[in-house]
Symmetry: C2
Subunit: 70 residues, 2 copies
């Protein structure tokens, strides 16, 4: 999964939950700046930061075996 795709997914999920960037950033304990950059694919975040965001969004980072088709 590309970094930019992770960003899109985060934005999608955030919109679904009706949360603003400042609110999600606050809840995740990161800066709005960082969140904005991640969502727009301008960042290469660390696992910790992605995990913080994921937890708030009810998502989870996984390292899964890649199947040929996907």
């Amino acid at each position: 999964m590309l970094v930019s795709e992770i960003g899109e997914q985060i934005k999608e999920r955030r919109d679904t939950l009706g949360i603003t960037q400042p609110d999600l950033a606050e809840m995740a304990g990161i800066s709005v700046n960082t969140l904005y950059k991640i969502e727009t694919g301008q960042a290469n975040p660390t696992l910790k930061v992605v995990n913080k965001i994921a937890r708030v969004l009810g998502l989870e980072l996984r390292l899964a075996t890649k199947k040929p088709g996907e």
Copy 2:
């Protein structure tokens, strides 16, 4: 998924494939130092680095919806 768990999973997979740290590092285009730290849970890697390693190991980073049980 915790950072340390990602490291364990990477080491497991690497051992399964019978690849050495230097070889995996070389194939992934990162330093042995970085790989070692990730495997031993001493690092907080970026998505790019994890992706590089995952590709070589036939793994894939996913942001999945977390289910209540897990």
